[in-house]
Subunit: 201 residues, 3 copies
Amino acid sequence: MITILGIAAGSVSGVMEARRKNMDIVGACVVAFVTALGGGTLRDMLLGNLPVFWIKEQQYALMALGFAVLVFYSSRLLMLSHRSILIPDALGLGFFSVLGATIALQLHATLFVASLMGVVTGVFGGILRDVLCNEIPNVFARNTTLYATCSFVGAWVYLLATSLGIGQEGASLAGMLVAIGLRLFAVRYDLRLPEPYDVFD
Amino acid sequence: MITILGIAAGSVSGVMEARRKNMDIVGACVVAFVTALGGGTLRDMLLGNLPVFWIKEQQYALMALGFAVLVFYSSRLLMLSHRSILIPDALGLGFFSVLGATIALQLHATLFVASLMGVVTGVFGGILRDVLCNEIPNVFARNTTLYATCSFVGAWVYLLATSLGIGQEGASLAGMLVAIGLRLFAVRYDLRLPEPYDVFD
Amino acid sequence: MITILGIAAGSVSGVMEARRKNMDIVGACVVAFVTALGGGTLRDMLLGNLPVFWIKEQQYALMALGFAVLVFYSSRLLMLSHRSILIPDALGLGFFSVLGATIALQLHATLFVASLMGVVTGVFGGILRDVLCNEIPNVFARNTTLYATCSFVGAWVYLLATSLGIGQEGASLAGMLVAIGLRLFAVRYDLRLPEPYDVFD
């Protein structure tokens, strides 16, 4: 269920960006696909977990494309503001971050690498979206609220919890809740990362 | 033979774009290589069919680079307009789309995934070219005639034909002819995809 | 030791570019990581040498991120001009080019493919950095001094030396010295690649 919400949020954000760039339905589908599934795809390619997940389980690819077509041709759904995908997006961020770390651990990665795979899974879809749309990735900008950080912290909460012997379910839940909570908190209170001490450019 | 034409078309289109961006021969070679072979490379990386095809069969890499050097340093060849690569490009699109779907089937992908691999093989070279050249991918733009669509339709014609028990050769030919025909028809009659019903941006 | 210098050079150049684009620490870390380790990552993904090297040996990932954080928050280190990373960057270029060719040979690639893997390892980190920063890759520009060429020539010196029966150590050293020497020579004497014979754009 939360997977569906996460894929939907990625897909919708991809279509929104595609519409802003005046793309047709092909562009919208590719950008939506890459936003929704690109992070997990890169994770699988780095880990050698091949073929990538949406080739093994095609329902994810179908979902991403289905949402893209639906939203692209439905003006009412497009009225969705960025605000309205905030919560599904935060849920997806939390879920995919923990999922990425989990898959990495199953493939015997170290904790540190698993935390990176969590961030890749949670965040790289949006980075690839912005690269395809010819923008500097949004999550890299100084004026954005915490995003990758929530993914990183959530992944570490999950990893430390499993290391401490807490079961898979409890650890996953803890990691997800921390990532999601931190993300919503960051948006609400406009939290950003510390700037470099002196900016001379 | 048709492989050579397809690679040549990709390589030439890469060099043209590189020249327009004022790149040197290194840029021209990389962009030409990526345009000609990038789609198949991404397909192999997604499917786990590694090392990628041009590492197993280096003649494709040699061809892509050879064409690039030749065209870059030959002003006469550069007089080639976009018009003149239209037909080799359409042949390449049809051939690579069916080839991508065929390879995916051999690796036991589902029909739907195989159709996506056809599109990736046929179309992603051009997308990666535009990303490297710092442009929004051309195939995503609203004012372009059908391109990815031809690849998708051709791949499905091939896939349905093989599912119906038509032999590999017949099915391949059918898929290629449909993709190529549809592409040339789209250019001739300026066919585009339906716009969203109301555009308010 | 030379690995550390090479990773440091990549990481610093990534942070510099990230600062110029007004990115926060997340952007700086991702861009630094991709610049320092992206070439080797792409090589491993193309060759099917998976998981990629920094997942097997996480100290490289830790180094790249450590340097990035250090440099991003330290204004004194940022005073480093492009000039000051010239020598570590040249050392890294030579080392990674020979390393890429060596790994490819171990995986039974042909000499030509191994030379391409040398260039990918040496040069693609910088290309991916520029793509992430929404710039046309610097090494593609006409006004840049020899860079990919040094990588290519160094890789071939190494490959021909091993083919001639010179031992791994001697061949590596020869390849590296040629690549590094050619790079420093090119910067000193402003060497560029030949332009196309007539430029009409």
